[in-house]
Subunit: 335 residues, 2 copies
DNA sequence: TTGTAAGCGTTATCAG
DNA sequence: CTGATAACGCTTACAA
């Protein structure tokens, strides 16, 4: 276990025959250092394999060069295969890599986890906090913002607090999807709505309601929680309650996938008798039977946009209170 | 932007009427402090909302209380919907939460990213490093280990270096799967192998080869890279080369899923004419047409086990050089 | 049991 | 343009 003593600024300074301050300047790219000295310092850094001690640096700069991504979802649901969270993670990681900052991932599913996140983030151990997919009315984003800690949420915070957020255009996407159904001649259009304690669930239902109402069509609603199991159950409810339905918009591809299967089991042909549209455009959507028509959301871009906003806030810039990313209707065979 | 000055140990000490050292002791749970003083300190901590500055702490303790999880995959592939990486992330997060340590996520797909990971990890900015799914012969794990930095890999490192690793029992799982096919009367058993620069791809192919060879059956091999697209292409190759095949083992569920569709398009009935078995047991596997027989791997547990090993190493314990987690054959309808 | 004081490795402020 | 020197907030011998 040779815990090789890592070289310090001091060591580099001695070797290059200059002061610590000068080495620090070179390392941090100050331009006010003579070229010859820069050379010498850089060589010493190279020879000694010097790497700055971030703890020492952040102690004096008051920055940590890391940001937290909080996934406040119950741990079991965070990584269902809808790829939403992985997509956000990936987008954030890409953008942070460019900014040379670290991504600290925190799951806040359990109550203990939530408390831990609170301690850590309020303790200013990160330069900013990204919240993915709030559940219910989490007071943490608002609290952090009030403490002056940069915060960006994915989706409008449900507790009405003024925190900058980025989201995809749920309503626009759903509107296009439902109109597509109507234009296809469907008149008994049902929906499998998402959980109503999440922005995505709420907004997608609004999009459905407004569009069918505008067309003078009835609202046929059942609720799920974005998972396949819940989608299957909701589809059965809909079939029982509205046996004459001729279309269904499911608020997630997972639920749509389950609906497809449930419809088949019930002997309904898709899309001939019942058209189905999902939301997300997960990879599997192209491989369902029949391939799923769905609304694509730019999920990686969501992660990137959130991160960019956060970095701007951390940099002292003012940012738009809300950013809406476009969604797109992907037409396959199910509708 | 009221960047509220956060309270320091000093402030707490003043308020409680004791020295900094005593506060530090209480905060760090030393037992050698009088009960009454502990009370006072705790109250002061509470009132001031004191949270320790981790940078300052780590500067003196030489620990960072954070560990890195490196995903050295190309960014575009890290988050395909096979759930492997999300599963590992989740397992690591769970275990680290229990240990009150932070998870720093690093993607090392691009060359620049890889260099960044190297700088960061060799710079001892983390107490240990977890490597998920090595690609090719990455020298970094070995180098870190030599520097005395705790390292654990998922899967045996391909450059033959002696780094502790945890993996699932690929060979055992595949052996059971292929035997199941043989017992079902299949005699022309093909495989869609995974990429041969990854342990998972290599080992799963070994499992197939050994088992068909032991049964005196021919090896019918095509290669993919675990993705659906590659699986479809490989399945077409196999059909062209071995039109009389009666079973196929795909080294990933995604490839198996694509194979299912390709077979259907080619007019082969599954499982009557061709049996199909996958590997992973992703959520979608239960929803394919027909539902996919596959090998389940405990992927979250893999993340947890890796993390536990790493924490033990960081704690100075000696650990087993390798740990193998059991896999399980899940029989559905496709074989 | 508690307090004092010496660092930990940087950056930043001043002089020079 | 460069070098002392003082923080930054905490832990930890060593004293008391």
């Amino acid at each position: 276990m040779t815990t090789a003593q890592r070289p310090t600024l001091e060591a580099v300074a001695r070797r290059a025959g200059v002061s610590r301050a000068t080495v620090s300047r070179v390392v941090n790219g100050s331009t006010t250092v003579a070229e010859s000295i820069q050379q010498a310092v850089r060589q010493a850094v190279e020879e000694l394999g010097y790497v700055p001690n971030l703890a020492a640096r952040s102690l004096v700069t008051q920055r940590t060069d890391s940001i937290a991504l909080v996934l406040p979802e119950a741990a079991t649901r965070v990584f269902s295969d809808d790829q939403v969270f992985p997509g956000i993670i990936r987008g954030a990681a890409q953008e942070l890599e460019a900014a040379d900052k670290q991504l600290v991932l925190m799951l806040a599913g359990s109550p203990g986890g939530h408390e831990r996140v609170e301690r850590y983030t309020t303790g200013r151990h990160v330069d900013g906090v990204l919240f993915a997919s709030l559940h219910g009315e989490d007071p943490l984003p608002g609290r952090l913002a009030r403490l002056g800690i940069p915060v960006v949420c994915s989706g409008r915070p449900l507790d009405g607090v003024e925190v900058p957020y980025v989201d995809v255009d749920h309503v626009g996407g759903v509107t296009r999807a439902v109109r597509h159904l109507i234009e296809g001649g469907r008149r008994r259009i049902a929906t499998i709505a998402g959980p109503q304690d999440m922005v995505a669930g709420i907004e997608r239902l609004i999009g459905y309601r407004d569009t069918v109402a505008a067309a003078g069509l009835p609202e046929l609603v059942a609720y799920g929680d974005f998972t396949r199991e819940s989608g299957a159950a909701a589809m059965r409810q809909l079939l029982a309650a509205y046996p004459d339905l001729d279309a269904v918009f499911a608020a997630s591809d997972l639920m749509a996938h389950a609906a497809l299967r449930t419809l088949r089991e019930a002997g309904r042909r898709v899309p001939d008798e019942v058209a189905v549209i999902g939301f997300d455009d997960i990879e599997t959507a192209a491989y369902t039977e029949p391939p799923l028509t769905t609304i694509r959301q730019p999920i990686v871009e969501l992660g990137r946009a959130m991160t960019r906003q956060l970095l701007r806030i951390a940099g002292g810039e003012a940012v738009e209170p809300a950013l809406l990313l476009p969604t797109e209707l992907i037409i396959r065979d199910s509708a």
